[in-house]
């Protein structure tokens, strides 16, 4: 028997990745033959060899020839590429895993801030490694549109290892799985590895969410996982818009509804424009459905990564419609998105007044909060508190603002 498989990437412009060619042949020697070329050969030649030997031995691969063409890949990438190759030629249930980083053991709250979520192509390690340093609210390891059909298999291993071994510095760790039903195959790779939130693309019905939910619960039970895994369905079709409220209510784990305008406008047969008149109804409908269900509404990405002014206008329009955040495709967009979804000066001023009145009333033991002659309801206070919290987190307000506020 002879079989050759390849995984990974190589060539000009490829960094932090590697290309694996694995060949098995009955005529080969018992001991696998390993050939390595690497731009970091001097510093890591020995480590590369050891890692490859260890993984081949772990899977009991014999009579094989492995060629590793390395462009400075980190160990978690090499392990993912090699495991993906091995699983193309050998039937095995075993997973080769490095220990999960301790710093990756966190869960996220349902109502956490989701201004920005940075898309990372699921088969491009170079973009994953430094994603967290740009402080997005969330990162999305994308197994769907950003991964070519022929690369879906290997991307799953890379995404799995990234969830375990890349520090995203507190960002919510999201994965966009493939559309149903293919997306169900992705779950086994991500659920045991502390994914915080799953994005379901092209979601059109509550039934899809329920099916996804059932499958997630099965895997959670299998691995004895108790923490919640949130869901963010992406509405990107006319039918999805119609069913948005049902989708939002389909599971208690649905934390937000996102809208995807590229596919939606295609579905309409309309051209996507900067002003977005063609998607105005859909955006309003999604916001309304989300808010009716008591969850967040998340806007589509803005694709011109060089135009920060237009992005800012886009964010302000989005915020004005009631969206709570949006996707981004370039780290430089994060700052603009955060600054402009965050409350503006007038909003902060109003929130300070309300929170201050509330705190004064509490300090005086009053049950009722009033601002001038107006009574303030608890939800208004809660909202104002949230505005203050966001203002502090985005550096628009100092933490102990009340000290100087009272003196005014």
């Amino acid at each position: 028997m002879n079989k050759i498989v390849t995984t990974g990437n190589k060539g000009k412009g490829i960094r932090s990745d590697c290309f694996v060619t694995l060949e098995i042949d009955d005529s080969f020697n018992q001991e696998p033959q390993i050939e390595i070329s690497s731009k970091v050969m001097v510093m890591y030649g020995k480590a590369l060899k050891e890692l490859c030997s260890e993984i081949l031995a772990f899977y009991n691969i014999k009579k094989a020839k492995l060629i590793l063409e390395d462009s400075g890949a980190l160990p978690f990438v090499i392990a993912a590429r090699l495991e993906a190759a091995i699983k193309m030629i050998s039937d095995t249930e075993k997973n080769y895993l490095f220990p999960m980083l301790e710093t990756n053991d966190y869960q996220t709250a349902k109502e956490r801030r989701r201004f920005s979520r940075l898309y990372l192509p699921g088969n491009s390690p170079s973009l994953m490694i430094n994603a967290g340093i740009h402080s997005p609210d969330g990162i999305i390891l994308d197994l769907e549109d950003a991964v070519a059909p022929s690369k879906k298999h290997e991307a799953r291993f890379l995404v799995r290892n990234a969830l375990r071994n890349v520090d995203f510095y507190g960002a919510e760790r999201m994965v966009r799985i493939n559309q149903m039903p293919l997306g169900l195959e992705d779950l086994e790779y991500i659920i045991p590895n502390n994914v915080n939130l799953i994005l379901l693309p092209k979601c059109e019905s509550a039934a899809q969410i329920q099916l996804l939910d059932e499958n997630i619960e099965k895997i959670k039970a299998k691995y004895n996982i108790n923490r919640p895994i949130w869901l963010m369905p992406i509405i990107e079709s006319a039918l999805g818009v119609i069913n948005a409220y049902e989708i939002a209510k389909a599971s208690p784990f649905v934390t937000s509804l996102a809208i995807g305008l590229e596919d939606y406008t295609a579905d309409l047969g309309a051209k996507r424009t900067q002003e977005g008149t063609e998607s105005f109804y859909a955006r309003c409908a999604v916001v309304n459905a989300a808010k009716a269900a008591g969850i967040q509404a998340i806007d589509s990405v803005f694709s011109d990564v060089s135009d920060m002014e237009a992005l800012k206008e886009n964010v302000l329009r989005s915020k004005a419609l009631g969206f709570d955040g949006m996707g981004c495709i370039h780290p430089r967009q994060i700052k603009v998105i955060h600054e402009n979804y965050a409350p503006d000066a007038a909003e902060i001023e109003k929130a300070m007044k309300i929170v201050n009145a509330f705190m004064e009333a509490t300090e005086k033991g009053l049950g009722v909060v009033a601002l001038g002659s107006k009574m303030i309801d608890p939800p208004v206070v809660k909202r104002a508190e949230r505005t203050i919290e966001i203002a502090i987190n985005t550096g628009k307000l100092i933490k102990n603002w009340r000290e100087s506020y009272e003196k005014q």
Binding site: V42, M43, N130, H330
Partner: protein, 522 residues
């Protein structure tokens, strides 16, 4: 052939093993910052008299070959060139083509810097036309040198160190060939105008003053006088007119462009934030950013802050590029003190704006000046390939042992009031913070802050900076923490193996040997 690269070594003040004699010249080991102060008199060029030169001022000869022959080109001479065209230089290779054609051997090439366009010189290093390079060795030239193939031992010097070496007589230039975008027949020359305008000719200044023979080559001959005269014709022996002297568009190379990488922009932004919080960025301050996309991007963030706070810098030092020019034109700085011109906006500004001032390695960097500008500058932002736990840094070689870059003005700039190196914690898989640098180019006592995307380390000697940043929201860490973090992500790197042979000396700004590069074993 006897191996001329196995040398007697001694340990210098930083504990690096360096040769006591190289290329037949006595070498002084590095003694510490400001410790070595030679006495006596500067090297003086030979006396010439105007009676020997044409009274009508016309020094034109037929071509470069004739000029070189009339300069008496012969075996073993030192020939200097300059990098004001950066990667658009067309002259340096022609000189050695001619030398090769004339069968001349064992030349010393003394460029102020080398660029990829000169990589073909390896053939003249191979056939013995050139014995060695004293100057920067980039890319293929660095590889050639690192593998021990160069006949002589390379010598790496800073821009200031180049001036010092000429003044000390450590390098005696026999023939300087100066590429001039505009010149007159007398030899007055300028770089700020002409079809191939490239900006400043400051790197050629020492050569024009001290070389035995000077040739000016231009493709834009103007009637006397060529104004301004960055180079004085009174130093010039021959002038040559050629079709095309350089490609000005190519002065913009990778290291002189603002980065588009979000990771590097983040580094620049963090660096600017650090300077602001440290109280460095205030009305009347001064800064310099070295070549390298990250360092150059600092200007964007400084500008934003200056604009918002309605203050301005007194001067910025270039490497001028369009971003510094924007600052000058917007009134965010009073002056640009330009050491070299990084793009065509810089060239235009130098020509048109009286507040865009020409400087030279003499005014900016020279160790034998009575002071120089670099120690007066408030903050300088530079790059590095490696930094060690004592803040010593490397700028010439990579972690695999290859010498691939020149020093430029880097060493000279370390003398500023605050030296900051924004560097990624690791490049691909290669940690930048290491326990020991492959080549030690700058002593840690002069390096104040290392900014990485995963944390900022302040030199423990800078208690003032540590104090100023103690309540900062920036991720202030120790350099040991940064090294551990890099190794946790990348794994601990192994060191390259070296042969015994010394392939290049790394000089400190005072002419002493701060480190020596050894032959890389493949």
């Amino acid at each position: 052939m006897k191996n001329n690269k196995i040398l007697e070594l001694t340990e210098n003040a930083l504990g690096r093993k360096v040769p006591t004699i190289a290329n037949g010249q006595k070498q002084i080991p590095y003694m510490g910052v400001g410790k070595y102060k030679p006495t006596g008199f500067k090297h003086a060029p030979r006396i010439y008299s105007c009676a020997d030169y044409p009274a009508d001022g016309n020094k034109l000869v037929k071509d470069l070959k004739e000029a070189l022959i009339r300069c008496g080109i012969k075996d073993g001479m030192t020939i200097s060139t300059h990098h004001h065209f950066r990667n658009g230089d067309l002259l340096a290779v022609q000189i050695f083509d001619i030398a090769h054609e004339l069968g001349i051997k064992d030349l010393v090439w003394f460029p102020s810097a080398s660029f990829p366009c000169q990589e073909v010189m390896t053939k003249y290093l191979e056939d013995g036309t050139i014995n060695r390079i004293e100057g920067s060795m980039n890319g293929a030239l660095g590889k050639f040198c690192s593998e021990g193939k160069m006949q002589g031992i390379g010598v790496l010097r800073s821009h200031g160190g180049r001036y010092q070496a000429v003044q000390d007589g450590e390098v005696k230039i026999d023939i300087a060939v100066i590429a001039a975008p505009t010149a007159d027949a007398f030899g007055n020359a300028t770089g700020d105008r002409g079809p191939a305008a490239c900006g400043l000719l400051g790197f050629a200044l020492a050569d024009s003053q001290y070389a035995d023979r000077v040739i000016v080559v231009t493709d834009n001959l103007v009637p006397f006088p060529c104004i301004p005269w960055q180079i004085h014709g009174n130093y010039v022996d021959f002038t040559v007119v050629t079709d095309k002297i350089g490609i000005p568009e190519k002065i913009v190379s990778g290291t002189t462009e603002i980065t588009k990488s979000p990771d590097r922009l983040l580094l620049a932004e963090m660096t600017a934030q650090f300077c602001i919080e440290a109280g460095i960025v205030k009305d009347g301050f001064s800064f310099q950013a070295g070549a390298g996309g990250t360092a150059l991007s600092i200007g964007i963030y400084f500008s934003e802050y200056l604009r918002q706070n309605k203050i301005k810098a007194r001067y910025v030092r270039g490497g001028s590029n369009k971003y510094l020019v924007q600052m000058l034109e917007e009134g965010l700085t009073d002056y640009i003190l330009d050491g070299q011109t990084f793009d065509l906006d810089g060239v235009r500004s130098m020509r048109e704006n009286i507040n865009h001032i020409n400087t030279s390695p003499f005014t900016s960097y020279n160790y034998h000046g009575k002071g120089n500008f670099s120690s007066m500058t408030d903050v300088v932002i530079l790059g590095a390939t490696e930094v060690d736990l004592n803040f010593n840094a490397n700028v010439v070689s990579h972690s695999d042992g290859y010498v691939l870059h020149g020093i430029g003005g880097w060493q000279n700039c370390l003398f500023s009031k605050c030296t900051i190196l924004p560097v990624p914690l690791f490049r691909d898989r290669i940690p930048v913070i290491v326990d020991q640098v492959t080549s030690l180019c700058g002593p840690g006592e002069l390096i104040d802050v290392i900014v990485t995307e995963r944390g900022i380390a302040i030199n423990p000697k800078r208690l003032d900076l540590i104090d100023a940043l103690k309540h900062s929201s920036l991720p202030i860490k120790t350099i040991e923490q940064l090294k551990d973090e890099a190794e946790k992500i990348c794994g601990k790197p192994e060191k390259p193996e070296f042969g015994e042979e010394i392939v290049a000396l790394i000089k400190w700004v005072d002419g002493t040997v701060i480190d020596a590069a050894r032959r890389v074993l493949k």
